[in-house]
């Protein structure tokens, strides 16, 4: 199974009465960008910490690049770059000095420092102390630190933290390029589905310490709810009509008065004909796909409701 870069099996972490991560099984393949999504406190960072050996699992195991992560393991980390939670650096050292330290510890030639400074757009700040950097540039420095050794695997926890919209687009393009051109495997966590939806090949959703979805992003789109959005002069009468004639139980949306009918797009002509024939003025009729955010909220709420007590 040489193409499996991360394999977590039955991975669990308990802190006293709190089950932070609960029997996670997860596989990430070479060259894949895996988006790990969850609300704050869902267990994303705890999982990432177990991947990196920063904390020890209560149960289960993690295999990174073919090596089981246990105390004392270190060779594999020459092939892994990471950023966990907040971007941190030595505040009294400059950007260049911080990167030079990382470069040494990763066993890289010092020429890698200039290369990564250029790649991450840090040249202007190379001689500035890390403590004087903006939040966004600290994040760039942390990303530079993670990427300096040209790792095969990048594990990034909330990599867009603190970046402005331009920075987010740049980092997204950079990560996509690393995956597409250099075959770097990227595991990134976020609580922003939009960010992950645009970048990841595969997505895992963690909620209350459990993986509740794990699928290709293309499949995610297939799972979102599709509705027909109908704007009509008398929405209550239209709703009654749709229920009576076509069996759709719909109520006008409180905010915009629109009807969201759980129908397929090809049913649109039939619905339009029904409403027009009934003398209702149709102001809008278009298909609507549930946003990824709405989908995420729906399934995490469903997971919360179905959680055994």
């Amino acid at each position: 199974m040489g193409d499996i870069v991360i394999a977590a099996r039955n991975l669990s972490k308990r802190y006293g009465p709190v089950q932070a991560v609960d029997k996670i099984d997860l596989t990430v393949r070479r060259g894949e960008i895996y988006g790990f999504l969850g609300r704050n406190g869902a267990g994303k960072t705890t999982t990432i910490r177990m991947f990196l050996g920063l904390i020890r699992p209560t149960e289960g195991e993690v295999v990174l690049l073919g090596e089981t992560i246990r105390p004392g393991v270190r060779k594999v980390f020459s092939r892994v770059g990471y950023l966990v939670e907040t971007a941190t650096a030595y505040p009294n050292l400059t950007v260049r000095e911080n990167l030079a330290i990382q470069c040494r510890l990763m066993g890289q030639p010092q020429t890698a420092v200039d290369a990564i400074i250029a790649q991450l757009g840090l040249a202007e700040y190379a001689n500035r102390r890390a403590g004087h950097l903006s939040l966004g540039n600290k994040q760039r420095l942390a990303l530079a630190r993670a990427m300096i050794a040209q790792p095969e695997l990048l594990i990034l926890d909330e990599p867009a933290n603190g970046l402005d919209p331009g920075g987010i687009v740049e980092v997204r393009a950079l990560l996509r390029g690393l995956a597409d051109e250099q075959g770097v495997t990227i595991f990134l966590s976020s609580h922003i589905l939009g960010e992950i939806g645009q970048l990841a090949d595969r997505i895992g959703i963690i909620h209350n310490g459990r993986i509740i979805e794990d699928m290709p992003v293309a499949q995610l789109h297939a799972r979102t709810r599709r509705t027909l959005l109908v704007g009509v002069a008398e929405p209550e009468r239209a709703a009654d009509l749709l229920a009576a004639r076509l069996g759709f139980a719909v109520v006008p949306h409180a905010a915009d008065g629109l009807l969201r009918i759980p129908a397929r797009p090809e049913q649109a002509p039939e619905i339009a004909r029904l409403l027009v024939d009934a003398g209702l003025n149709l102001t809008r009729l278009c298909p609507e796909e549930e946003s990824l955010e709405a989908y995420f909220m729906r399934i995490t709420e469903e997971a919360s409701c179905s959680k055994p007590s």
């Binding site: 910490r49 920063l54 270190r74 650096a89 030595y90 505040p91 050292l93 040494r104 510890l105």
Partner: protein, 260 residues
């Protein structure tokens, strides 16, 4: 790999505020001791300058080289133990305070190298500071024109300064361990002050040569009558403390969960 880690630790230290803070702390020791000697030597002028109350006196204090050296040794016995603890607490605690500890733990470097490199860095810097203390102490004593100058007294005293420094350094793994446990600076500093106070009490009971935090003050002549040489028992206690705490620190870094 140890050499690489040591270089990185040295470069981190070089740009740290602890370097000039600790240098300032050490530099004050000969200045304060020298001032004290001058007051003893020139009580009338000190009184005129308001440095000495009319009725104040320093019972038994003699303004000469042996008296001055004894004062420097005492200053290092307490001040040096605190100072090396501050340096060690900084070297280990900063990784938590700056949130950089997580950046050290998933690298192709054995974690125990960070412990040894930090301890060696502390020893190196503290050694330089004691060297500076010896030079500055000599210059201050010379400027004061203290009587009783004798190389047969001064040269062994320089050796004793380094020996007190070494004894204080042997206690640093305990400070490091507490810094990891407490995830910052405060716990190790509190620990050191508490242990030094305890060391003074134990020293006064006569059991001081068996208690690690009494040994340096006893050797410096702060906690009761000065012990001229370290007994084998004291050396064993110090060695055991160093080894147990160094291994404990390494195991902590290897096995404890890092939540930062």
């Amino acid at each position: 790999m140890f050499k690489t880690v040591l270089i990185t630790e040295m470069s981190k230290l070089r740009r740290s505020p602890i370097t000039w803070i600790s240098w300032l702390g050490v530099s004050l020791m000969p200045l304060v001791s020298g001032l004290f000697m001058w007051v003893v030597k020139e009580p009338d002028r000190a009184t005129q300058l308001g440095l000495l109350g009319q009725k104040a006196q320093f019972a038994g204090a003699v303004a000469d080289w042996p008296g001055y050296i004894a004062m420097l040794l005492q200053a290092l016995g307490i001040g040096g133990t605190i100072l090396i603890a501050v340096i060690t607490a900084y070297l280990f605690g900063r990784e938590y305070a700056d949130g950089t500890i997580k950046n050290l733990l998933a690298l192709p470097v054995a974690r125990h190298h960070f412990v040894t490199a930090k301890l060696v860095t502390a020893l190196f810097w503290f050694g330089l500071l004691i060297g500076w203390l010896a030079v500055e102490g000599f210059v201050v004593g010379w400027l004061l024109a203290l009587p009783g100058f004798d190389l047969r007294v001064i040269l062994p005293a320089a050796g004793e300064l380094f020996l007190i420094g070494l004894v204080a350094w042997l206690l640093t793994p305990a400070v490091a361990w507490v810094a990891l446990w407490g995830r910052g600076y405060l716990a190790p500093l509190g620990f050191t002050i508490f242990m030094l106070m305890l060391g003074m009490v134990v020293g006064a009971t006569g059991w001081g040569k068996w208690f690690p935090w009494s040994i340096a003050p006893l050797f410096a002549g702060v906690a009761g009558p000065r012990v001229e040489t370290l007994t084998p028992g004291s050396l064993i206690v110090l060695g055991a403390t160093f080894i147990v705490c160094a291994v404990g620190t390494m195991l902590h870094l290897r096995y404890a969960d890092n939540m930062q």
